[in-house]
Amino acid sequence: MSQRGIFRFRLYVAGEAPNSTLAIANLAAFCRAYLPDRYEIEIVDVFREPKRALADSIFMTPTLVVRTPPPARKIVGTLSQTQTVLLALGLVSDVG
């Protein structure tokens, strides 16, 4: 939390699928809570842009791609477990 880097997210969703909708909501809530004003979210619908999904090797939806800060990471799922997401993003050093 020390450096004020910007988190760029790309969230691959599958149209209106329930878990995709849930993921969008969860991500938005997470960013508001932990990364206020330092995040960008791009939402890609795999049905509309399958080529991008292929290029990014997205096979499971929803998948969150963390583009910056490096290293690039992928988090699969609805992002409902906040602790896991925090850990994956390096926002907490250890799970308490």
Binding site: N19, P50, S57, T61, K74, T78, S80, T84
Partner: protein, 581 residues
């Protein structure tokens, strides 16, 4: 309803897999536009099966395909498949697409997910490629990430529906724990078997230390199929499924041409030799000249200029050549000119299935018209009886189908006694000609006897002959039957000599008698001649006598008349007149 009927009509069309034998079992291949489940343990050949299906589709059926790799990365699969001679690199450009869908090892998962991303990407790719076939390799890998069974099931249904909607011919491979394919329905993805239209089980087991692979079609909606387990092999051209007794093979064209057995008198015994395309079994204990007899056949075939293959299991091929040279069978020159191919292989490793496939491949490569397998009984060492039995059956089927003349030798167990026990593999019932060799021990000698137990469609001698091996080659001799006893070897020779001496004696006696008769005849003839001369002399004498008598009488009567005339006439008449009273 209409769509269901339309797809039902499509079901009758099958997608050929290009896997030798598998298309025959299923009557043409996998259900087109439907999903097939391929289940097997580790190393059972699931990936190769799927890959071969795609390669065949792309190369032969103009059906491009997609391979979704959940477990292995595509470069590794391509590299592994190199050995089968499939030109994947060329296919990959247009007709075959590999999608790497391995979940990353450091994948972070939070909550539920689905496979829509994969399907959307596949949609795009399959449209671009015009794909007709698709393989999902190791679907279980990705399903394992889903936390609960209901979700797994949901994704499987999603995938299945997607496949059906696009009418892609699909294969989904799944791992099965261990060999218990029977209990598969209890396994996590067991319900998939009920969902799909076709299910194939691959099995890899070790029987008596010998690896054996087998395959079984468990279900096939709307089609008949061979329900039995069939052995298969991953050879150097991919999958090869062993099929027993297919209709096409059994109705092979038969030939009336005869081929020489390499032993002149044996040909005579068989009424001209073996039939072309026949299978011949030579049984006997060790040392009864089985190899020699089959070597003679191979030499005769090479002399006719036919490509021949000699497979020896017990000895090295160089040893066989050397040993056969000692009985005047020279195979080395035919090896040199390429018409004979010697293959030696110790029957220790590999299953009988492996041998059959290898022999078939080598024979095909060599263009062999005659094949010798010495001894086929070596197979019984590898694996269980049932499988080797079926391999032997299929060997004969195959040779018949190809029109290859096959000579197999089979070693009999010494312990099974001196009787004419059937061969261990029980192939004697299937072969066309069965020649049995055994020893006859008599008067301190061990001699080889040859008899034809059966020979289908040929008149054949019922006699046991003695087989003699010498520098000059292999010959058969009549055995001597005297007083209900069969004589061989020295006894036969002695008997023959005694007979010869006896014949000479009777010959001489007859000659002598003839001479004596000739002499008697000559003597008689001489006597006849002298008698005839004597007869003539007597006749002359007799004629002379008659003549002299007549002249004498004439003289007398003349004299008397003269006298009467001199004495006075009528005296005589007067005398005559006086006498009657």
């Amino acid at each position: 309803m209409t769509s269901a009927r339309a797809s039902a009509a499509k079901l009758s069309v099958k997608a050929s897999t290009g896997i030798a034998g598998f298309d025959e079992i299923t009557g043409g291949g996998l259900p087109r536009g439907r999903t097939t489940l391929l289940v097997g343990g580790p190393g059972s050949g699931k990936t190769i099966f799927g890959l071969q299906f795609l390669v065949h589709g792309a190369q032969e059926c103009r059906e491009p395909g997609i391979f979704v790799a959940f477990e292995e990365s595509s470069p590794r699969i391509v590299a592994n498949a190199e050995s089968f001679g499939w030109n994947l690199a060329a296919l990959q450009k247009k007709k075959l697409y590999f999608m790497d869908a391995q979940p990353l090892a450091d994948l972070v998962q939070s909550g539920d997910f689905d496979l829509c991303g994969l399907l959307a990407a596949l949609d795009a790719k399959s449209r671009e490629l015009g794909a007709r076939r698709i393989v999902f390799d190791a679907l279980d890998v990705v399903l394992a990430l889903l936390p609960d069974p209901a979700l797994k099931r949901r994704e499987i249904y999603r995938l299945h529906e997607w496949l059906l909607a696009r009418e892609l011919t699909g294969i989904i491979t799944l791992k099965a724990g261990g060999d218990e394919t029977m209990s598969l329905s209890q396994q996590p993805f067991g319900f998939m078997q009920f969902m799909v239209d076709c299910a194939v089980m691959l099995n890899h087991s070790v029987v008596l230390g010998v690896s054996q692979r087998s395959l079984r079609v468990q279900k096939y909606r709307g089609s008949g199929f061979d329900e039995n387990e069939s052995a298969f092999l991953i050879g150097n051209r991919g999958f090869e499924v062993a099929v027993a007794h297919t209709q096409s093979r059994m109705d092979a064209t038969v030939s009336n041409e005869r081929v020489s057995s390499g032993v002149e008198r044996l040909d005579t015994m068989l009424g001209g030799g073996y039939y072309r395309g026949a299978s011949v079994l030579i049984t006997g204990f060790s040392g009864t000249a089985k190899t020699t007899l089959s070597g003679a056949f191979a030499e005769a075939a090479c002399r006719r200029g036919e490509h021949t293959m000699f497979v020896c299991f017990d000895t090295n091929s160089t040893e066989v050549i050397r040993n056969l040279r000692s009985v005047g069978i020279r195979l080395d020159r035919y090896v040199k000119n390429g018409s004979l191919r010697m293959i030696s292989s110790r029957a220790i490793t590999g299953s009988a299935e492996t041998y059959l496939v290898r022999i078939k491949a080598l024979a095909m490569e060599h263009g062999a018209r005659c094949v010798v397998i010495d001894p086929v009984s070596a197979w019984s060492k590898s694996g269980n009886d049932l499988s080797t039995q079926s391999v032997a059956d299929r060997l004969i089927d195959w040779s018949k189908g190809e029109g290859t003349t096959l000579v197999c030798t089979s070693l009999l167990d010494e312990m099974s006694g001196q009787g004419e026990g059937g061969s261990q593999l029980q192939i004697s019932a299937l072969v066309d000609t069965w020649i049995h060799l055994n020893y006859l021990i008599q008067a301190g000698e061990r001699n080889r006897g040859l008899s034809i137990v059966k020979s289908r469609g040929t008149a054949h001698s019922n006699q046991v002959r003695e087989l003699i091996l010498s520098d000059a080659g292999v010959t058969l001799t009549d055995t001597y039957t005297a007083g209900g006893e069969v004589l061989m070897g020295t006894l036969r020779w002695e008997k023959e000599r005694a007979e010869r001496v006896a014949t000479e004696a009777t010959d001489a006696a007859a000659k002598l008698k003839r001479l004596r008769l000739d002499a008697e005849e000559a003597e008689l003839e001489v006597r006849v001649k002298s008698l005839q001369t004597e007869l003539v002399a007597k006749q002359v004498e007799k004629a002379l006598l008659v003549r002299t008598t007549q002249s004498h009488e004439g003289e007398l009567s003349r004299g008397r008349t003269q006298m009467q005339e001199l004495r006075g006439a009528d005296a005589t008449t007067a005398v005559r007149k006086a006498t009657p009273p």
